[in-house]
Amino acid sequence: MDDAAPVTFRADPADARRAAPLDAFTAVYHRRSGITHLLTEPAPQILAILSEHSLSLDALLTRLSQDYDLADPMRDALAARLDELVVAGLVTAS
């Protein structure tokens, strides 16, 4: 199951979700699962990127640092965020 190719991450297209911004959080209804998630930064930003591109962890980190000033560009932290999104079913790893 593990080989040399890095794991890539992907999210459903943006219209698979319905979002409502609430102060620092965004409530997101995921149509396929029927589950509501409450997301906070950087989860919505990650979802937006992965809805359009399949990226590895490193590629995603690079992409985020192009789009934003990363306050704490830690690979481990990003991996933890991706892990949460995978567990929630909003992002698939392959």
């Binding site: 199951m1 396929r32 699962s33 029927g34 589950i35 567990v87 929630a88 079913g89 698939t92």
Partner: protein, 337 residues
């Protein structure tokens, strides 16, 4: 027995007829509607009924209740398919076939049997050799044991056709991982290898049983396993599968799994409960059991129910083992006092 023309149905016989021939509901008065809706809820057939009756003339209050039932079934379908998808994601690295069963399979394959159907836990079938790996993968993906009881656990692992039930800690949904469709203790031993070999991939990483496999499974579940609780719903599944796929090759497939008697009974009872065929012999007892429900949703015919309950234990275990099982349960109950 109930006359189908009656305005207030006295048993779930009327419900069965209404599913098969929706036009008969136009004869119902308000009390009759209340009885049918309550029975349908008790038999977990309200969503199915709602789908069948959609578009017929009916009182506004009934139409609203049935619209709610359809919405609930749709949400149930969504949740069931998502649970299957999450199991698929967890099990994908194993590279083995993952066959979804029962209600989830019907909606995943877009079958008539799935329309409006209530769906409970996720049931999947995997090759017996993949069982340990499946268990490990599911535990790693957030599923947990429901009952960490040593006796039950040992019992399951040794004798049942499935892992002890697992529940997902975030989604609160249960999964039953089967490696066969009947307990290993049952006198009948279907061939799970053949069921998996004949299964139909859906193209999304999941498979479903072949149409005949689904009928065989439903018949096994109905007549060689439980006590017929929820029997009407399961028989409706068979009725829809036959309506959609016919019965070609069904007898041979039933033979292959040693389930000829059960499959033949299922086909006959479909014709009795959802058609015009009169029930004869022991079939009458099955009809009595499957329609034992009154207009208040209460279970009726306690003696018939008890007989089928005892039968279910008899079917599952050889006598000596049944005695051992009941002994262990009794001792646990006694230790509690």
């Amino acid at each position: 027995m109930t006359d189908p023309v009656t305005r207030t149905p006295a048993s779930a016989r009327f419900l069965a007829r209404a599913l098969a021939d929706p036009s008969i509901v136009t004869r119902l008065d308000p009390a009759g509607w209340s009885a049918v809706l309550t029975m349908a809820r008790a038999e977990q057939l309200i969503g199915t009924l709602a789908t069948r009756l959609d578009g017929l003339p009916m009182p506004g209050a009934v139409a609203a209740i049935l619209a709610d039932a359809r919405a609930a079934a749709e949400q149930g379908r969504r949740a069931a398919l998502w649970e299957a998808e999450m199991a698929r994601r967890a099990l994908a690295p194993l590279g083995c076939p993952v066959v979804v069963l029962k209600g989830t399979a019907f909606v995943a394959a877009g079958l008539m049997a799935g329309q409006g159907r209530s769906i409970g836990d996720l049931d999947i079938l995997v090759p017996r050799g993949a069982l340990d790996a499946a268990e490990t993968a599911l535990l790693a993906a957030g599923w947990e044991w429901v009952k960490p009881d040593p006796y039950d656990d040992a019992y399951y692992r040794r004798w049942m056709h499935e892992l002890p039930p697992l529940i997902h800690r975030e989604r609160d949904r249960m999964i039953d991982v089967h490696h066969s469709i009947l307990p290993l203790t049952a006198r009948i031993t279907p061939d799970p290898v053949a069921l998996i070999a004949d299964s139909v991939p859906l193209g999304n990483g999941l498979s479903v049983l072949s149409p005949n496999g689904m009928i065989v499974h439903a018949a096994a579940h109905l007549f060689a396993d439980g006590d017929l609780a929820g029997g009407l719903r399961n028989l409706w599944d068979v009725r829809c599968l036959i309506a959609e796929f016919g019965t070609q090759g069904l007898a041979d497939d039933a033979d292959r799994h040693g389930l000829r008697i059960e499959v033949e009974r299922a086909v006959r009872l479909v014709e009795c409960l959802f058609g015009e065929r009169p029930a004869t012999g022991i079939d009458r007892l099955f009809v009595r059991r499957m329609t034992a429900r009154d207009g208040w949703g209460r279970p009726t015919r306690p003696a018939t129910r008890l007989a089928f309950y005892i039968r279910s234990h008899w079917l599952r275990m050889p006598p000596a083992m049944l005695a051992r099982h009941l002994w262990a349960k009794w001792r646990k109950a006694r230790a509690r006092v």
